[in-house]
Symmetry: C2
């Protein structure tokens, strides 16, 4: 479990890594960071987001009780594979990846027996990236998902719950990798695919002055980091393709009601979407 | 032009009609309302949104200098056709419909020579309806579109501009019916079709606890009045079907990059959507 003297290491000080650091340090914990960009380290130290930062320091790794990879999914696998030899015996390692297929299994297959990798996903974010936008309050309206597998101990799950509580997540839940990636494929990856496609449908930039909130809301997430998101989409490709197919089928269903002058059929679609959406109101 | 003693009549005291009334009355104008629901009239009088209200009163029609139909598109055509015999000579009539095909032409074909119908579209709204939610501040960040045709006078256009200025619209523009319906087909009708279809894709209600802002933003407008919107969709059917086809083609393009493991192709889609979306930031 997390104690007063538990030492945290954040690897990759981006928006999520930086926000984790900020929240942990506010709660009095020691937080080190390994981050490739020296400017991000300088910023984080100046703003009291971390205790120590370095582009690379083996001692940080050796001293850490809990290591959080804030790196992209594939980089997380690589980093743990390469540097696990320095992990402190008993250390707990987690990640922040929004996709778990191709991340959890490869890591748990190679991870040392005397440390433990337990995956988790903070469902929080902003349309901007980098430690400059770090803000631990984004967790206070967010869901923290823990993904225990057969390799994980009950204690690690309890520690991750404690971790999420310290950071003030509003909800904590547990899912399997398969459940998680199917769910996130729908609520996040499909929605991003739709927003990107809507934005790309026409060169609609001449419509700027006419667009209201509907269009802006639907396309807000079309501003997307192409390196991170292409990785995420390909890792969750199987779920995403199936969900795109389901969605297109539904759009075609709506189109068919128009083509067939099926007024009642169209109304039924509206009634169903309205009833379902009401459940999602906060 | 609108003068101090100009008398307004709002027909249909819903969200937009009510918000118009509220804004006009705040600016000192006399506002009458004809509204089928007595409760709406009572509410509007009690809250000082209108001067007089009735479920039907020929004198209101006879005395009005400017008549605004806040009714649904097809009802607007019917109401004007039926009651134009009572219009004051020189009266100006407008509407609030979000679709203009099937509205402007039929009305201008039958309208009396001594009055003038000029169509307009306040691009404002809320996810709720009814005079209880009337709020003229929704216009202050909204676009007011005037749709002059060959039947319209310059003076009528100027009066509509003055009307929009009084209500505090942040932007006023002029479009033809064809331009308007193509534009609104894309920025509003297609976006609603997408939101409704996403909401209907799966019975996703069990995902409530996992959904973040992305999904909520994309489906906010899936709560939709089935009677109004089925009318709107069918009136703009031709544009909407074409735009649905374009959109599906774009979604399939994204899907193809996944199926073909075309990482660079997917990144290009993200880069394009990001560049375009940035132009829409307020």
């Amino acid at each position: 479990m997390i104690q007063e003297n538990t030492r945290f290491l954040i690897v990759g000080l981006g928006l999520i890594g930086g926000s984790y650091a900020m929240g942990l340090k506010k709660n009095g914990y020691h937080v080190d960071a390994i981050e490739i960009n020296q400017l991000s380290i300088d910023y984080a130290i100046k703003h009291n987001i971390i205790d120590r930062g370095s582009t690379f320091d083996i001692d940080y790794i050796k001293e850490a009780d809990i290591i959080i990879s804030g790196l992209y999914p594939n980089m997380t696998v690589d980093w743990i594979t390469t540097y696990q030899k320095y992990f402190k015996p008993g250390a707990l390692i987690t990640d922040v990846s929004s996709v778990k297929t191709g991340v959890v299994e490869p890591i748990q297959k190679i991870i040392r027996r005397d440390v433990e990798f337990i995956s988790s996903h903070p469902m929080a974010g902003k349309e901007v990236s980098g430690v400059k936008f770090a803000d631990d309050s984004i967790f206070h309206i967010a869901n923290f998902i823990i993904l225990p597998t057969e390799s994980n101990t009950k204690e690690a799950v309890a520690t991750m719950r404690q971790f999420a509580e310290i950071l003030g997540f509003s909800n904590i839940s547990e899912l399997t990798v398969a459940q998680h990636d199917e769910m996130i494929g729908f609520v996040s990856h499909l929605t991003h695919a739709i927003a990107v496609s809507l934005m790309n449908t026409n060169d609609n930039t001449h419509l700027v002055e006419y667009t209201g909130d509907s269009f802006r809301d639907l396309t807000r997430i079309a501003k997307i980091n192409e390196n991170l998101w292409s990785e995420v989409f390909f890792l969750n490709k199987e779920n995403l393709i199936r969900e795109i197919d389901d969605f297109i089928q539904e759009v075609n269903h709506l189109k068919a009601t128009l083509e067939q002058d099926d007024v009642e059929g169209l109304k039924e679609l509206f009634i169903q979407s309205t009833a379902r959406r009401k459940l999602f109101d906060r």
